[in-house]
Amino acid sequence: MTCEEAEVLIHALIDGELDAGHAREVEAHIEGCAHCAALMKEYQEIRQAIAESDLRYKAPLELRRKIEKALPQPQAAPSRRSVLRGFAMGSAVSAMAATGLVAIVLRNDDEQRIENEVVSAHLRSLQAGHLIDVVSTDQHTVKPWFNGKLDVSPPVIDLTAQGFTLIGGRLDYVNAREIGAVVYKRRQHVINLFVAQTANTERKTAKVSTLQGFNIRRWSDRGLNYWAVSDLGADELSEFGDKFESAMRANKEG
């Protein structure tokens, strides 16, 4: 492969868009070419800097209002009469319930989107050379590696004795934010455990869902949201989550 070709293909390599065969070719070229290797390193640094800068804009509230106003309203405004009747029937309670329902619908929608992104991140990680940034089976190496890279410190727990081997950690990008991924393996199956901060400190029990053939076990505990994603069966992924949670509890008590 010539440098000219490599200079285009390293971008696809960085982005995890190359198939395994081409990825190997580019990697072979880079190993033997200091110029392209240095160039790739520089591009990765720029990419990292871009990911860490907040380059997004927030839509002005006024724009949101204008769009909302231009769309047909989801429900016709109730007539004055029915509002009054509603009060007589104790509708303050049902109105509150309805608000709660809206909140749940919105949150679910958001969760759905994030689950999509988590599965995409999992898929990206499986492409050549993208699974792990820090390779180690030692939790005392992986955990400090995250320091200073994230606004949270993801718990890193060795579960080898429980049948899940810690193989490393990675920075990923989900929901427009940097997120920590702790990587485990069982047999040939990779488990990505994504960890992100949440404002909500209440504990949420695990929920298992399936998306694009992958199982996702999601839970929250002490201000952190967890998504474990794998092609493992739902039962084994649940087992992983249970082991992880009980190890966390043991750590806390111990």
Binding site: E7, R47, E62
Partner: protein
């Protein structure tokens, strides 16, 4: 700018809100980078959402974000065509134009030391200064996190073009980055 009465279906409106409104910030961000003007970006995003609502019946997926972006991109291009004020803006470069360097060619030898980090505003400026269509490709990849396939669909070009544009965009950004680094010394 109110959707006409035949479109007035509360159930459809509800589904559309749930599917499309979560991407409002994403759409606005893309419009800001494409048009480089806050007021124009607002108008374009509003137009995009109204068009998207009109065509929502024919929406079959796969993902909402690239679908919205494809509409938004057309709105931005139409806006430019109408005003005829933007010489290079969102228009395609002529054949072979993708080879035209925006900056001086990147130094042959990559820097030995770490690249300097800049604050968000400086990085935004560097990205905003990229020429089209490289800016569009770059923003869709690095800020919007789209796959090459999705970018190809949004920009209506082959995946190979996405790859070469992205390589070009990053080379330009690298040069600009190094120039800024030199200037800031």
């Amino acid at each position: 700018m109110v959707v006409n009465a035949s479109q007035d279906d509360p159930e459809k409106a509800r589904r559309f809100r749930e599917a499309a409104l979560p991407y409002l910030d994403d759409a606005y961000t893309l419009a800001r980078y494409l048009l480089r003007d806050a007021a124009d970006a607002e108008d374009a995003v509003q137009e995009c959402y109204l068009r998207a609502y009109k065509h929502f019946d024919s929406y079959r997926g796969p993902a909402m974000k690239p679908w919205l972006f494809a509409i938004l991109r057309n709105v931005c291009r139409a806006e430019y065509a109408r005003r005829k004020t933007a010489p290079t803006a969102v228009e395609e470069l002529p054949e072979g134009g993708e080879q035209t360097p925006m900056w001086n060619e990147a130094p042959e030898t990559p820097e030995k030391q770490m690249l300097r980090r800049f604050d968000g505003d400086t990085v935004r400026k560097l990205v905003a200064a990229l020429a089209e269509p490289f800016r569009e490709t770059f923003v869709l990849r690095e800020i919007q996190n789209l796959s090459y396939r999705e970018i190809a669909d949004v920009a209506a070009v082959p995946v190979g073009t996405v790859m070469s544009r992205l390589a070009r965009a990053r080379a330009m950004l690298r040069s600009a980055w190094l120039a800024e680094q030199e200037r800031a010394k």
